[in-house]
């Protein structure tokens, strides 16, 4: 009896060498051979990044994501919003990450029973059931070294013996009966600058993407409200479900009962209409000589508009053209590596001191006879600035209601490079 079924039918986990190392069916069993269509598409694609997320086969549809060197391939039988499945698969991967510290083939294989228990709780008949980490952790305890030792001695299990209440409560994202001796609430305001800088150094496109990641360890049922000095800066915001939308609409205050532990409170965008400060500049001279098998490479990175803070953790990666054989460079600071196979040049600069700007200079050896590469490669820059939110966003205060104790509160700001690319 083959009847129409909505949503996710089966899930296959496949590693990079094409082995199916886990399968789970929520309805009747679908043969592994369905993955052959996936392998076919994978072969056609240039690289893993280009495997189409949605594949149509004669009887099924395959929707897949690629995370941490694993393909999560789900089998679908009928119409479904593809984002629904994609978002869910990412949630599964997030949960594995959360439980095992990494979402890798080894971790999944080592914890196959927990993985199965998790998948069982997360999806019922192909429809998502419990996806909040707080709830899942009440149902199935994450493995720890201590617990696995204790379990093997006492024969007890990692399935929670008390039944969870969170799923039933008014706040499905928070578990009940949280107790801490030290009550703490930390907020990390992390901003990333996405930018494209053109050859001449002018900004083609720049935008700030920010998130506030929270680590809340508060007993009981705290009700928090977080306000900003300049909430109008936030152009477009997306919220964790715990946030009361109406309060934000009317007062621009984030009011919420937090989940326990680590979670992302909001993500926001500061629009490109506002001028975005670009904290570094890059002087570059990359040239390939016509009819000769060498070229010059000279790059200097310097600070700019960094609000008096130190720019650190600077790393530059460049995908050199295929014709490049090797590079002979000297760095005034940090160290560089060039992988002749992938043609990736990585220069780990570290901290920028304005007195002595880091420079990387030398000769590029080209394959003899190959035509001169016509495009210079783009430079991808990473950096970090502590104690600064580049948009100027500032947390005003955090108030707690509903509980009597005084929590320890902390806010940390950090600015990083997001997709920061310099065209040369």
């Amino acid at each position: 009896m083959c009847f129409q079924q909505k949503m996710i039918h089966s899930l296959f986990l496949i590693n990079c060498s094409g082995d199916i190392f886990l399968e789970k069916h929520w309805k009747s069993v679908v043969s592994q051979s369905v993955c052959d269509y996936f392998f076919e598409a994978q072969e056609k694609a240039i690289d893993v990044e280009n495997v189409p997320p949605v594949i149509s086969t004669p009887h099924h549809y395959l929707i897949s994501i690629y995370r941490d060197k694993i393909f999560f391939v789900s089998v679908i039988q009928t119409e479904v919003p593809p984002l629904f499945v994609i978002e869910f698969l990412h949630r599964v991967a997030d949960t594995f990450q959360d439980y095992f510290g990494e979402c890798s083939e080894t971790a999944i294989k080592d914890n196959v029973v927990i993985v199965y228990e998790l998948l069982e709780e997360m999806l019922d008949n192909g429809f998502p059931l419990a996806t909040e980490s707080n709830i899942l952790k009440e149902l199935i305890k994450p493995p720890t070294i201590l617990r696995s030792v204790v379990n093997s001695i006492t024969g007890s299990s990692n399935v929670g013996d008390t039944l969870p209440t969170g799923q039933l409560s008014n706040i499905p994202w928070r578990r009940a009966g949280v107790k801490y001796t030290n009550n703490e609430a930390y907020f990390d305001v992390i901003e990333e600058i996405d930018a494209i800088i053109d050859k001449s150094g002018s900004t083609v496109f720049a935008e700030i993407q920010g998130v506030i990641d929270s680590c809340i360890k508060l007993s009981g049922m705290p009700d928090l409200s977080l306000s900003f000095m300049n909430p109008r800066l936030l152009d477009d915001v997306s919220f964790h479900p715990c946030i009361r939308f109406k309060r934000w609409e009317s007062e621009r205050v984030l009011s919420f009962i937090p989940p326990d532990g680590n979670f992302r409170l909001i993500s926001y965008r500061v629009s490109s209409q506002n001028l975005v400060a670009i904290p570094v500049y890059v002087k570059h001279l990359i040239s390939f000589k016509e009819n000769s098998s060498s070229g010059r490479f000279d790059v200097t990175i310097g600070p700019k508009q960094n609000m008096g803070k130190t720019v650190e953790g600077v790393v530059m990666t460049v995908h050199m053209p295929k014709a490049v054989l090797n590079m002979n460079l000297t760095a005034t600071q940090g160290s560089y590596t060039f992988d002749p196979v992938t043609k990736v040049l990585a220069w780990d600069v570290g901290k920028i001191t304005p007195q002595k700007l880091p420079n990387l200079k030398g000769i590029v050896n080209l394959q003899s006879g190959a035509p001169k590469p016509e495009e210079n490669p783009s430079l991808n820059i990473q950096f970090k600035i502590q104690q600064l939110a580049i948009s100027g966003l500032k947390v005003n205060r955090l108030d707690m209601y509903g509980e009597k104790y005084k929590p320890f509160k902390g806010v940390k700001y950090i600015t990083k490079a997001g997709k920061f690319q310099v065209r040369t």
Binding site: F3, Q4, K6, D19, F21, E23, H25, D47, P52, I65, T78, E79, P81, P82, L83, F84, I86, E87, K109, D110, V112, V113, Y116, E120, D124, N125, F127, P128, T131, S152, G155, V159, T165, Q167, L168, S169, N170, I196, D198, F205, D223, S225, S227, D235, D236, F239, R244, F245, K246, E249, S250, S272, P321, E374, E375, P377, S378, Y401, K419, R423
Partner: protein
């Protein structure tokens, strides 16, 4: 696997070698590979069987873990079924869970044995713990054994009326499972769906709509009555449910409302070039014109309004669902708000980007304006995967117009040089499309492309040639130069498509390059045998065309080429040669056709259209799988066209009678006759209702306000208009403050009207429905916490056996208490009022609304609460500081105070920038309560337990006009926040509430006696409050 390995090692060394053997087949991708080791498998299974039969839980658990490991790898473990199924009743939760996993996987294959486990589940279905009931239902319904269909049906039916919303949610899931097992059950299942659709829990909503979509998506009639409720619950439903509901409501709305963009369609499909010049202004103007004749159905508006906040969801699927809803349902001027959120999603994973970009591509063809401001967000990075790059390029091309084309072309120049050649080729195509679409830049583009012809990369050159060919075809008039240039290139280009394109161009326009064309033919004739088939065909074509136009010079050459073609290896080429020869070389056999040879070969050919590949996707609903694949997926539900005339909107009106019927059945007949009684029953219904439905009611409130003026004379019609009004649009999203103050005025007038008894009946109905609406508007603003409290009460219900339930208020006292007079407050005056809402700041708090008014002529800044002098235990949640209050303005803020169930005064300082004033809030005892609904039976049971010390009573006088049940209820509810308990007796009225802080029950009974007296009885644990309440309630009924 290695995890299991560790487990093994701990048990003893002798099994270890097996492990190594077993690990080997896992690396091979296919299952049958395990066959070679079949013998060792059976041996191991023996060992597993023994472990399962052991008396130790730890051994069983280990065995089950290994079995689950086998299932996970897709190995067959079915022969262990008998051994495993025995453990279904295990006390150990983990073993039990793993057995469930096993059962769900293999029950279908071992049906007879699976039946052994059924009784365990049946027992668990009756367990007092809701989680156990739920999980039993889940497993039972997942066992795909047809024999148990009747058992499943019964279980689902029972679970659908379970007290726990969590169990009901699982029932909704089970519906789909049963349906796929046995579609025959459809009718019965629809009944259950119908019932669950009426459910008000946010937990159930998503799941039941999912079941609806699967079982009976065509039964749109089931949705009508629940439409408004679903709209209002939406914000509080979990994210996955939201997606499903939004998709369903999109389909629903397309069948029930008329198009908000009707006249737009006359303009024609939007993506033609004319429209391109049309600015947004014009579009808006058009919309405005439409508005004159078109008014949006309030329900349509409700849907748009309630889905909008979800654009802020962290879940990409929810955002996309709202985006498609706005795309398909909103007036075109409003759909713009979705672009920002969609662009935000582009920061997400590659897969999300892919889907979102596809959808934006489709949208950007039809409505460029929407995404134009975000053009730069689609700029390509060299690190993007190719599929993302090409989609971004597609969108940029769609968005190109005169204003941005120059920046865009500059950007494209960078892309053309990209190392990713596939992408570079796509960019050239894009340039070609821009060139045809925007006539101003055609020449620039063409020149640019010609420059590319000298590019070193062959693919780039080839692509350029192809695009140039297409461009030249659209305007061949003055491009002799380019053709000459291309002819020169022919020596260097080797890519067949490009060579073929050049040859075709020269042939087509051979009269423009009369000297070059024959020479090209000469050259290619030489290389004919080495050319690709594609090129050979074009050489033949070129020859034929030259023969017709310039036979003097080329006759021999052409014949030479034709001869070569005649002996070619390819069938196609031989065929073509024969055909051409017959056509162009006149001989005695050739028919009439050769006369027309020139016309045939050199006919005016239509220029190819350079179009977006996303052009034809718009007939699929956005965000669907079908849209992504651009082909109809199984189970795709067509989005219908707007109806010409909207079906009757009244079908969505939630009848007053619905729950009143049950009510009136309990109540005596006499009550039925009074129309006013109905009003109460309606509000009673609302009471049960989660507060989030209130927005509907508020809609109806404002409606009835309008209607009142027209209808004030006709009392009879009062009921109908107190339900939802439908006649006119109600776009007005008035601010909450405004409404509250409006309500306050309303209530003043209410008091006056009361005195004029004759009219008051109908009016009071209205005005109280007005106050109600205003308060419920507020409650919707707090809807999250509000419905939370509702859920909370649900759980409470299952915890306490009393089955009592906190409900939202029926009646909101409109009395304002003065907190700060304007004289003492130096222009700032403050009043407070008890909103009778469950407090959002804490469930032990009473919510208080403070209205601050600035009566001075200067603005007052930084109004906040200063030092608090609270009695011990009392707590207060302050309102957020008000930065500035303009003169003549007032603002209402809410705060929460935990009075600890006492009537002690909360004193605190109200501060402004310069001053501080000492103020007090003293609660009337009636405000320290929250109403509770319970049945008469429960009431009596509870009352029975609260006798003796816990009972206080008094005999009171009742003024004759106060002896009707309506007035009694009204008056008591005004004095205290009580819930009405349905009563079977005429003379006895019962009310129930619980104290806010401690949650103790407070039961009030009014028993009418002879000669206008009555017995007032109060039962409660909190005797102090009980006696205070008694004192307060005493005078209520005696006053006239």
């Amino acid at each position: 696997m290695s995890g299991n390995g560790i487990g093994y090692g701990e048990q003893g060394g002798e099994v270890a070698p097996e492990l190594a053997q077993e690990a080997a087949p896992t690396t091979a991708p296919s299952v049958p590979a395990a066959f070679g080791l079949f013998s060792s498998d059976t041996k191991k299974n023996e060992d597993l069987k023994q472990m399962l039969e052991s008396s130790k839980d730890s051994a069983k658990l280990d065995a089950m873990k290994r079995i689950v490991g086998m299932i996970a790898k897709g190995k067959n473990a079915s022969e262990l079924f008998p051994a495993v199924v025995k453990n279904v009743a295990s006390k150990n939760i983990e073993i039990k869970k793993l057995v469930y996993v096993y059962l769900m996987r293999y029950a279908e294959e071992q049906q007879d044995l699976a039946l052994l486990s059924i009784s365990t589940f049946q027992r668990a279905l009756k367990d007092p713990n809701q989680l156990i009931r739920a999980s039993a239902l889940r497993v039972l319904s997942s066992i795909r054994v047809p024999i148990i269909v009747p058992i499943m049906m019964l279980a689902i039916k029972e679970a659908s009326s379970d007290l726990s919303p969590y169990v009901r949610k699982n029932a909704a899931h089970a519906i789909q499972k049963l349906y796929s097992l046995d579609p025959e059950q459809k009718e019965m299942l629809i009944e259950v769906i119908e019932k669950l659709l009426r459910d008000r829990s946010t937990l159930v909503a998503g799941s039941v709509v999912m079941a609806f979509e699967e079982v009976c998506p065509d039964r749109i009639d089931l949705i009508h009555k629940n439409y408004r409720k679903l709209c209002n619950l939406l914000v509080d439903v979990e994210e996955w449910g939201q997606v499903v509901i939004i998709h369903m409501l999109t389909r629903y709305a397309r069948t029930q409302f008329v198009s908000p963009w009707k006249t737009d369609e006359d303009v024609g499909d939007e993506y033609n070039e004319n429209n391109f010049y049309e600015s947004d202004e014009e579009q808006k103007e058009k919309d405005r014109k439409v508005k004159k004749t078109y008014t949006m159905d309030p329900d349509h508006r409700l849907l748009l309004r309630n889905t909008k906040p979800l654009l802020q969801s962290r879940n990409a699927a929810v955002v996309m669902a709202v985006a498609q809803l706005y795309w398909h349902l909103a007036p075109k001027s409003e759909a713009g708000i979705i672009s920002k959120s969609l662009v935000r999603l582009l920061r997400s994973n590659r897969e999300v980007q892919y889907i979102v970009l596809q959808n934006i591509a489709t949208m950007s063809i039809q409505r460029k304006g929407m995404f134009e401001p975000y053009l730069k967000s689609f700029y390509v990075r060299s690190t993007d995967p190719t599929m993302i790059k090409t989609l971004k390029l597609e969108i940029m091309t769609n968005l190109a117009n005169e204003a941005n084309i120059s920046t865009l072309l500059r950007e494209f120049q960078t892309y053309v040089k990209s190392q990713d050649k596939q992408f570079a080729a796509a960019t050239i195509q894009a340039i070609g499309r821009c060139a045809t679409n925007i006539s101003e830049v055609t020449d620039t583009c063409l020149n640019g492309l010609v420059c590319l012809l000298s590019n070193r990369d062959e693919i780039v050159v080839a692509e350029s040639v192809v695009v140039i060919k297409k461009l030249l075809q659209t305007q061949p008039a003055h491009h002799g130069e380019i053709i000459k240039h291309m002819a020169k290139l022919l020596d260097n280009i080797t890519v067949p498509v490009a060579r073929a394109s050049i040859l075709w161009l020269i042939g087509e326009y051979c009269e423009r390059v009369p000297k070059i064309a024959p020479d090209v033919l000469r050259k290619t004739a030489k290389s004919f045998t080495n050319e690709d088939d594609l090129v050979k065909l074009q050489i033949l074509n070129l020859g034929a065309k030259l023969y017709l136009t310039n036979s003097k010079q080329t006759k021999l050459l052409t014949q030479y080429v034709l001869n070569l073609g005649k002996y070619d290896q390819s069938y196609d080429i031989r065929d073509r040669t024969r055909f051409i020869r017959q056509l162009i070389v006149p001989n005695e056999k050739s028919g009439a056709l050769s006369k027309y040879a020139k016309k045939i070969f050199l006919a005016q050919k239509p220029a190819p259209l350079l179009e977006s590949p996303f052009k034809d996707r718009d007939h699929f609903q956005l965000g669907t799988l079908s849209h992504t694949l651009n082909s109809r997926a199984t189970g795709y539900l067509e989005l219908s066209d707007w109806p010409e005339v909207a079906p009757d909107p009244a079908v969505r009106n939630v009848e007053v009678a619905e729950s009143a019927k049950e009510w009136t059945a309990i109540l005596s007949k006499t009550k039925k006759e009074k129309p006013t009684e109905k009003f109460y029953s309606e509000s009673e219904e609302e009471e049960e209702d989660s507060a989030s439905t209130s927005a509907t009611e508020s809609e109806s409130g404002s409606e009835s306000e309008k209607e009142r003026k027209e209808e004030s004379s006709s009392n009879e019609s009062s009921e109908s208009s107190s339900s939802t009004g439908v006649s006119s649009d109600s776009e007005s999203e008035e601010s909450t403050e405004k409404k509250t103050s409006g309500a306050a005025e309303e209530s003043d007038s209410e008091d006056i009207k009361k005195k004029a008894k004759e009219i008051s009946k109908s009016r009071s109905t209205f005005s109280s429905s007005d106050t109600e609406s205003s308060s419920s508007e507020e409650s919707s603003s707090n809807s999250k916490s509000e419905s939370d409290s509702n859920n909370d009460s649900d759980t409470e219900k299952s915890r306490n056996a009393t089955s009592s339930k906190v409900t939202t208020q029926v009646f909101v006292p409109t009395k304002m208490h003065e907190m700060l007079h304007r004289m003492t407050g130096k222009g700032l005056s403050a009043h407070y009022q008890f909103s009778r809402q469950p407090c959002i700041f804490g469930d032990r708090m009473v919510s208080v609304q403070v209205t601050l008014t600035n009566t001075s002529d200067q603005k007052i800044e930084n109004i906040h609460i200063g030092e608090k002098k609270l009695p011990p235990g009392m707590r207060m949640h302050e309102f957020n500081p008000i930065e500035c209050l303009e003169p003549e303005r007032s603002v209402t803020v809410s705060m929460g105070i935990d009075f600890c169930d006492s009537t002690q005064t909360a004193s605190f300082q109200l501060c402004t920038k310069d001053d501080h004033f000492n103020v007090n809030i003293q609660p009337p005892v009636g405000e320290l309560l929250l109403p509770v609904t319970m049945s008469e039976k429960d009431f009596k049971k509870e009352q029975g337990m609260l006798t003796g010390m816990n009972e206080t009573s008094a005999t009171i006088d009742v003024a004759p006009q106060n002896s009707t049940s309506r007035v009694i209820t009204e008056r008591l509810m005004k004095a205290a926040n009580l819930g009405v308990v349905p009563s079977g007796q005429d003379k006895i009225h019962r009310f129930a509430a619980k104290t806010v802080h401690s949650g103790s029950l407070m039961l009030v009974t009014v028993e009418l006696k002879e000669s206008s007296t009555a017995q007032l009885i109060i039962n409660t644990e909190k005797t102090v409050i009980g006696s205070v309440l008694l004192r307060e309630l005493k005078p209520v009924l005696s006053q006239g």
